[in-house]
């Protein structure tokens, strides 16, 4: 029979962390682009989170969970090694190109038509890292810039510029997609 302390800890953990299961799963789906890999990653994330729950110091548990999930996903990327690069903390070449070239290439005032969720998810899936995770954390998981910075371990300024790039790339891809469909 587990010690009473363990039970209490498990109960506190359950109350604090389980309400965010859908959030964590959503990020995992976007990062790994595979339902069963995402499930495994989320389970591993919760196991690790429980193990380190003692060292967790509030108040916001979401960024903490996301940071753990991100580590798990990076390990998964490493396993897949060849196909995708891991979420990098060092800015790659893509991050250093000025944003504005890309937006200039796309029509400035084109109004995007509403698309069904499936089509939008595909466009987001195609975004390169680390822009995709920043975008998903902000636009879908609703984190503040500060919380995103905490989750990805990067300065707020970096978060801001990654987000700007991510949105510019998404909009360009979106418009290109619409041109094609026309």
């Amino acid at each position: 029979m587990p010690a009473n302390d363990d039970l209490q800890k498990a109960q506190r953990f359950r109350e604090a962390a389980l309400p965010y299961l859908d959030d964590v799963y959503t990020l995992a789906r976007y990062l790994l682009r595979d339902a069963s890999d995402a499930e495994d990653a989320v389970q591993e994330c919760y196991l690790r989170a429980l193990k380190h729950f003692d060292s967790y110091r509030g108040p916001a548990i979401k960024p903490w969970l996301f940071a753990i999930l991100r580590n798990v996903c990076n390990a998964e990327y490493a396993r897949r090694a060849h196909r995708h690069s891991a979420i990098e903390d060092t800015p790659g070449a893509a991050e250093q190109t000025p944003i504005w070239q890309e937006t200039e290439a796309s029509p400035e005032t084109e109004v995007l038509r509403s698309r069904d969720a499936g089509a939008i998810r595909k466009l987001i899936d195609a975004l390169a890292e680390p822009f995709k995770e920043t975008f998903v954390l902000r636009e879908i998981n609703n984190l503040s810039y500060r919380e995103i910075a905490e989750a990805v371990g990067a300065p707020v300024g970096t978060v801001m510029s990654r987000l700007a790039r991510a949105r510019a790339m998404l909009r360009a891809a979106w418009t290109a997609d619409e041109e094609q469909a026309r």
Partner: protein
Amino acid sequence: MTCDEARILLHALLDNELDAGHAREVEAHIASCPACAAELSAQRDMQRVLADADLRYTAPASLRARIEASLPQPQRQQPSRRSVLRGFAMGSAVSALAASGVVALVLRQDDQQRILSEVVSAHLRSLQAGHLIDVVSTDQHTVKPWFNGKLDVAPPVIDLTAQGFTLVGGRLDYIDARAIGAVVYKRRQHVVNLFVSQTSNAEYRAPRTETMQGFNCRRWGNRGLNFWAVSDLGADELAEFVDKFEAAIKTNVEG
């Protein structure tokens, strides 16, 4: 401000992440630069379309079950034959005690359900015209003293405007046949009633969310007080409110 800078900062403007000074600077640039203005409006459109689409995923029930199963569970020990026999031998006095324990447990839970429903009713009542607040103030130093002498507890009144929940006032309410303090906050058009009562139990009890009649109620206990935060806000945002409140109280007590 250059266009390159504005192209980054306009996102922070869209996300409400800029302080007033920087927001003004970006707005000034945009007012004088048609290209950046077009970019801002295009990004705003995209954000709107994204917000309308349901882009979240829902974790499969099997995953939830797997995670639940991996947490330490209280194990029900199978009583051995011998202990069953011993139980019989101890006779009816023990059984009667055990039975009364069960009754107490059931009653306590019933109590909690009843109080929850009273709290939700009080919240509903407060939403009727003119019932929301007895003392109207966005200043915690006005609301807090107003409770003095009206209650057997001093409810903590904390301004959370900076954290996105505006203090709008306080009210007296009745829960469980007792006068109780309600501190009222607003986020956007949503009202959050924070009910505070005294308890003999000084132990910390972690927040948990329950739903009744479509309202979310998050209750927790700390520093000898019971709290119920009730609102039609989503469970996420209500949890955020409680986190922010507890964090603010902690800095107030320790700082």
